[in-house]
Amino acid sequence: MNLQGIKKLTFAATLILASGIPGTFAEAAGNATLLNVSYDPTRELYQSENTAFAQYWQKKSGQSVVINQSHGGSGKQARAVIDGLEADVVTLALAYDIDAIADSKLLDINWQKKLANNSTPYTSTIVFVVRKGNPKQIKNWDDLVKPGVSVITPNPKTSGGARWNYLAAWGYKQKQTGSAEKAKTFVKALYKNVPVLDTGARGSTLSFAQRGLGDVLIAWENEAHLILKEFGSDKYEIVSPSVSILAEPPVAVVDKNVEKHGTRKLAEAYLNFLYTPQAQDIIAQNFYRPRNPAALKKYAANFPTIKLFTLGEVFGNWRTAQKTHFNDGGVFDQIYTP
């Protein structure tokens, strides 16, 4: 190979390497730093929260603090922490991912009892996004299994958000009929209407909004509002089903890492700050449902009343839900194997 060829290849290799770095990792210098490892759609939320917390902490302790954020698929982020990414706090899409970190002894197995409300300072739920005017007349979950309706949702095997979608559909049917068997048939019919299973929630959003696939997108409520903001509320509208799941994305301090960094006090203050009225307002402004009743009332227009059931009510806990539904050979695999 001539020199030019080698140069070309080196250039290519550099590009490939640069594009292969997972997540984003904003490095900054400061007196005290925290690393918050989070999932994909919370980028904007934590940017605002971090600025607010830095001011709050400066006033309270006189110490300036910089919070670095890392974002990516929830499961992948959990793996990164297990494999040595030194997160002080993790704020992930579902408890199972933090359970997995706990299994690797990085934090206490009873982590979810440490903060109020199951360690989830905010909640969300699963809603539908349809094209303007709702041409297929989609009002509730039952409309998703009708013939000729094309549904977009990501793959629950690779996306935490997709698991909430699946469980919401299942829970709706099981609550309605009282039968797990009927719920299974319903979910099977629903996934028959799914033409593409993207690996992540953002991928599904693109399939639906940019590539024009599907009649309805099942999405987190906050993501649905983001679609209207990004792609135009003149093109899409949000439909809230009568019943949905209370999605609880939990937060936790990673014990081993804060001990190593000496940041326990700061990390705990950071997570507790998320429950303060100021932080709860920011949460609501980013279209997540705040825990604080005052904040919820203030932004009530954004959060229509949906009958919400918890994961515990229908599925017990995340470990069982994961095992029964999403692990290899689980229900999700069964509905796809002939």
């Binding site: 070309k8 290519a12 590009l15 992948k76």
Partner: protein
């Protein structure tokens, strides 16, 4: 030792040293990292291993990965040969520009390529719009995967054939023509045998790359279980279940099949070269 003594001494000096280097670098760069797959799989035990790699979804994904990579490489063989031919044998303005374009699939992050294809072939995309009335769907089908893999593998074929074509003397073709060979005969009897080893190398590289390709494919494949799930996606989805051993198991089988195919192709190449020389 007896085996070594029987061997003819190499006339080039420094065999021991250079061989030592080769083995060291191959170990550091290839063998040691890949052996991790093997060691991750061992604690699994035989039965769970067999169970993991013979699940219907996994088997379907192997089949899909291999046949899409195969057809993509086959297409690249024709397209690449033609492109290399044009780039070497003709002079025309903008040739260097075209030549540089060939390398783009190397340089572009594969995810970008995948998103481009998905957008292009979507029902509202430029090409998808034209195909939709014909009821031809590319996106979310194996055809879409093949298109992505053709793109990824293309430069491998062009870049391996180009130098061989450049070295070939045009006089040979002229001689063949003077001796009364038809154009087709010149192509099949003179050109092709000479180019074949390089072509085979290029196709093998494109094929191997296609089996492992992840970034570009997941955006266009649709990822439907049993239908359009590629093997690398099965590995990713096992990792997302924190099933490291299961992921390694799938990877190990993929690695073994790929390696034996590469060995086989190398053997064919060697055999063909001997045949050509004699």
């Amino acid at each position: 030792m007896a085996l070594f003594q029987r061997k003819r001494r190499n006339i080039l000096p420094g065999f021991g040293l250079s061989m030592g280097y080769t083995v060291f670098y191959l170990s550091a760069i290839v063998i040691v990292p890949l052996s991790m797959i093997f060691f991750n799989t061992i604690p699994m035990g035989w039965e769970p291993f067999v169970h993991a790699v013979t699940a219907p979804r996994v088997l379907a994904s192997y089949t899909l990965s291999f046949y899409t990579a195969f057809f993509a490489a086959l297409f690249d063989a024709f397209a690449g040969l033609l492109t290399a031919w044009v780039l070497v044998r003709y002079r025309f303005p903008g040739k260097q520009f075209l030549d540089a374009l060939v390398d783009l699939p190397f340089a572009l992050p594969t995810a970008v390529a995948g998103i481009c294809f998905a957008t292009l072939y979507s029902p509202v995309g430029w090409l998808g719009q034209l195909l939709a009335p014909l009821n031809l769907q590319i996106i979310n089908t194996p055809t879409g995967i093949i298109i992505a893999l053709i793109f990824i593998g293309f430069p491998f074929v062009v870049r391996t054939i180009q130098p061989v074509l450049e070295e070939m003397e045009q006089e040979i073709e002229e001689a063949a023509h003077c001796l009364g060979a038809t154009r087709w005969q010149t192509f099949t009897k003179i050109l092709l045998p000479h180019l074949f080893p390089a072509l085979l190398t290029g196709v093998t590289l494109a094929f191997a790359r296609g089996i492992g390709e992840y970034g570009s494919v997941i955006f266009i494949a649709g990822n439907l279980p049993m239908k359009t799930e590629i093997a690398p996606l099965m590995i990713m989805s096992k990792l997302d279940q924190f099933d490291y051993a299961g992921a390694s198991a799938v990877a190990l089988v993929l690695l073994c099949i790929s390696f034996s195919m590469l060995l086989l192709l190398n053997a064919v190449q060697e055999w063909q070269q001997k045949e050509y020389r004699s």
